[in-house]
């Protein structure tokens, strides 16, 4: 199989830590795919409020 040198790299899921020491992906679906690919487990946090805004978490 020949791959084009000009092909764009596969998209990488962007993680953020939201003021914690843990890298979070935006959705469990993304996390599940990445966990499967990296042979890891998945950690899912269920919260009240908005994780993105510390005032509302």
């Amino acid at each position: 199989v020949l791959a084009s040198h000009s092909a764009a790299p596969a998209p990488v899921c962007q993680s953020q830590n939201y003021g914690t020491s843990v890298d979070f992906l935006a959705s469990p679906a993304e996390a599940g795919k990445e966990a499967e690919r990296d042979r890891k487990l998945m950690f899912v946090l269920h919260i009240s409020g908005n994780f993105e805004d510390r005032q509302f978490t």
Partner: protein
């Protein structure tokens, strides 16, 4: 959520897990004071089956201990089950049943567990749930955990801010 700011917790979770979050409830801010709200942490397979969970806020040492228990138990489960799904579920049933017996003195394999159920603490109830339905999908158990174990309502409502009149 404060336990997640701990560096050791972060290193361990980032090494062994891919993390995500979901808003499942809400709370009120009354004059800047939080009323209600809670948190549940789930340790799952990549396809969303719950291996273990922590209901409610805990300190860094507790969260790290649970994460390590899940990782090590998952390794042993894989070795024991050798790809047999039923064996894997039995393994996780026994793992949670053992935790329940050690930590709460309840024998889930006894004929009647209902007597001691009300005396269980939050984490004991989580182990009882996961001994009863090991590796349950997170979408099938999160409401029970949030509403019946933590006593919160699942809600899509945004956080409301209330300022009392003076």
């Amino acid at each position: 959520v404060n336990a997640l700011a701990n560096d050791e917790v972060g290193r361990y979770l980032n090494l062994h897990f891919v993390a995500s979050f979901q808003k499942v409830g809400t709370f009120k801010l009354v004059n800047g004071q939080k009323q209600g709200g809670n948190v549940a942490s789930y340790f799952c397979t990549p396809d969303g089956r719950v291996l273990s969970a922590v209901a409610g806020p805990v300190d860094a040492a507790t969260l790290l201990r649970e994460a390590r228990w899940v990782v090590e138990t998952a390794k042993l489960a894989g070795l024991d089950a050798r790809g047999d799904e039923a064996r894997l579920r039995r393994f996780w049933h026994k793992a949670h049943a053992d935790r329940l017996k050690q930590e709460s003195g309840m024998d889930v394999d006894a004929l009647d567990v209902s007597q001691g159920k009300s005396a269980l603490n939050t984490q004991g109830r989580v182990h009882l749930l996961l001994a009863a339905v090991p590796m349950v999908r997170i979408d099938q158990c999160y409401r029970l955990v949030f509403e019946h174990i933590l006593g919160e309502k699942v809600s899509t409502a945004p956080v409301t801010q209330v300022t009392a009149a003076r």
